[in-house]
Amino acid sequence: MIDVSAFVGPYPFRHLAHATEEWLLAQMDRLEIDEAWVGHLPSFLYRDPGPGNTALFAAVSSESRLRPVPAVHPGLPEWQAALESHAGRVPAVRTYPNYWGLDPAGVEMMSLAEAAAGVACPLLLTVRFEDLRQRHHLDAVPDFPPSAVRALARVGEGVRLVVTHADRSFIEEVHYGLTPDESERVLWDISWIWGPPEEHLRHLIATLGPARFVFGTGMPLRIPDSTVARLDLLDLSKADRRAIEEENVRSWLRNG
């Protein structure tokens, strides 16, 4: 399995009992997750994510199962150089325009999407870290909007977006707002898609197809067992389950 949505580092809004790479690896061993795409959690509030990226690379450098996903801030000077330095070394780059005071579909983000496409580097977008209802009172930043995902997906053929922590309505609003070709530029992690009794995940896999979905947990904020349990509650074929757990993201990267 490949977990596309994991983090190391503290969370600015409350204490985390488990914020280390050692804990992350222990959870991966327990749940038989082969590889995790790891972001540096506090970087979404840093004015410049550069030091966070340095900390991230240092934290994961000795463990090949942890793939660093550094953050790129397209509102800072020389961001293109940062992107180019990461391209080819990492599976994707993260970006948090809503927390950095940028328009999620503004000129900076469009430029980043175009540049990332140019160096064949997927963008990883986080819709939310926590449920809107339980955020710290200072965390008043709106969720990453579906309209921005649509706008970014329309930038061009080479664009690839991994969208994490989106729910059913968000996913459908984007998917059916794109052409079939544009939709193939987007992968969705399943960490925020509910199972029974509402059966959102079953519905989405049936209507959009299993090829659009990838495995993600949201560790160490979210409970990783819930994503596995959600898959266990479906009657997926072995091939479809394997596709969601790892093959979709592997083939997507191979064909990028």
Partner: protein
């Protein structure tokens, strides 16, 4: 044995074309998870003809009757809470009398009135008389109201629990989200507050703080409307190495202790 103390079902008045499928999905998922008892309620018409958290008396009358029918249809597997709105005292007490006399085993309160309001006292007294627990929806936000429901907070539920020390109160979904960290402190000293682990918003640290606050002796397994997260949390607890006795308490032992004697066989 695995007892889900926080389930919900739907009816033809829920405004959903797939209400039957959702009910079946709960039972099917329960079978996969290993749930041996669903203790559940129906919150009126789920907003279709009156608000989910402020259900009308007519909607509750219909919902409770439907819940009793489900209980009869799935005898030994499905058990009912009688859902009431404390703003309609006479109706609430009548529903509790009817419901409990027809085999319902608990009382469900949404967030129609703040939990420490005197209007909840007669309902708590009815629970004490019948020796049934009260499951109270909780979603902490002491600093502001939230659209669609009255503010509901464990600090206020604790005041009700202290006024009715003989009644067992279940804090739904570890108190939900909101400013949950502050309110988990109060459950330590109020021994008739129990915590169910249901809820989509429950994060890793909520689980750890809930365990720190009450240990396994006052935690209850529950799923609410996201059964996958309920199962995930149970698996996470199992992986923490709590020991079989502690896990058995969370899975079923604590529920057996607070619901009427012998109902789960």
């Amino acid at each position: 044995m695995l007892i889900d103390v926080h389930g919900h079902f739907y009816t033809e008045r829920s405004g959903l074309t797939d209400w039957r499928e959702r009910n079946e999905a709960r039972l099917n998922a329960g079978s996969r998870i290993g749930i041996t008892a669903h203790v559940a309620s129906i919150l009126g018409t789920w907003g279709h003809t009156s608000p989910t958290y402020f259900p009308s008396p007519d909607d509750l009358t219909h919902a409770n009757a439907a819940m009793r029918a489900l209980q009869d249809e799935h005898s030994g597997l499905v058990f009912g809470y009688c859902a009431v709105n404390p703003n309609f005292t006479e109706h609430a007490l009548e529903q509790i009398e009817v419901g409990l006399s027809h085999g319902m085993i608990g009382i469900k309160l949404a967030a129609s009135r703040r939990a420490d309001d005197p209007l909840l006292d007669p309902i708590a007294q009815a629970a004490a008389t019948a020796k049934v627990p009260v499951l109270h929806h909780v979603w902490h936000h002491r600093s502001r109201e939230w659209l669609g429901q009255e503010a509901s907070d464990t600090l206020e539920l604790a005041r009700l629990a202290e006024r009715h020390s003989g009644v067992q109160f279940i804090v739904a979904h570890i108190g939900g989200g909101g400013d949950w960290a502050h309110t988990l402190r109060v459950v330590r000293r109020v021994r008739n507050l129990w915590i169910d682990i249901s809820g989509s918003g429950v994060d890793i640290d909520m689980m750890h703080l809930a365990l720190d606050a009450v240990g396994p002796d006052r935690l209850l397994f529950g799923t609410d409307v996201t059964m996958g997260t309920g199962w995930g949390k149970l698996r996470y607890l199992e992986a923490l190495g709590l020991g079989s006795e502690a896990l058995d308490r969370i899975r079923s032992g604590n529920a057996i202790e607070i619901f009427p004697n012998g109902v789960f066989g």
